[in-house]
Symmetry: C2
Subunit: 155 residues, 2 copies
């Protein structure tokens, strides 16, 4: 029998097989929430403070987020790492599943449908936007940016 | 503020944001484990009996698995529904993430790499194999089948 860690699905599930970790990543990626308080108060699913604190530690330890050093009295800013940015296709696959199996009206479904219709190149463009925003790489030339296009979609 | 259920990522995460649910789906899909005992004894992560029982109920209630009616003294067989079959792209996205961020040697990584290299048409072919196996649709003409090709990959 192979040890558990040799299964790549299990290796990802060890980090991402958790409701709140996935929702925190969603909020950092799609809503640009970079601070503890923004993640806490902006959470539509009303994440509890202690759960948020725990999941932020886990995501940092797993290498998906980095925590900026905060000067005394300042708040620490969280950034996606490249490994965190590359969870976007997983979130996209989850959202696409819901388009068929948990259909609903509203802006967020319209945006998911837009991502689905645009296909993999658009996911790549979103990831490049995230790299500029979180890793300091040069911003893509696209005007409007991929995230601007996404946020312009009205349900 | 939109109600939580309007977010398609959250709607999927409510079912799939759970380590054991994802691993049970993985074992049904990739290892063709269709019975409680096979899922219990074949689990490389050693799922506990009560957790397996709970997750099977949840997956049936969520519409991802169906439970066959078992005659007295017979074991119930589980089948993927179409909604369950369509979780394959999510498992694939999880596995692909690990190819880069949790690299390891072994057969399972080699198979994930093969799926990745073959791309979306191969995922579609695997889903068609699953439809034949679980939903009774006509078997695809491919010889060898997509799953046979996958299982022939040696790490």
């Amino acid at each position: 029998m192979e040890p558990p860690s040799s299964c790549p699905i299990n290796a990802a599930v060890e980090v991402l097989g958790d409701r709140w970790s996935l929702l925190v990543l969603r909020d950092v990626i799609f809503s640009d929430r970079r601070y503890f308080r923004a993640l806490l108060t902006g959470s539509p699913e009303r994440i509890a403070s202690n759960i948020l604190a725990d999941r932020l530690v886990r995501l940092v330890e797993a290498g998906l987020l980095s925590r900026g050093t905060a000067a005394r009295g300042q708040r620490a800013q969280y950034s996606l790492t490249e490994a965190g940015i590359q969870t976007l296709p997983i979130l996209d696959a989850l959202g696409n599943w819901s388009l068929t199996w948990r259909p609903a009206a509203g802006e967020l479904h319209a945006r998911q449908q837009f991502m689905h219709d645009q296909g993999p190149p658009f996911i790549e463009a979103l990831m490049n936007d995230l790299r500029a925003r979180h890793l300091g790489t040069p911003a893509p030339d696209d005007d409007p940016s991929a995230f601007e296009r996404l946020n312009d979609v009205i349900g």
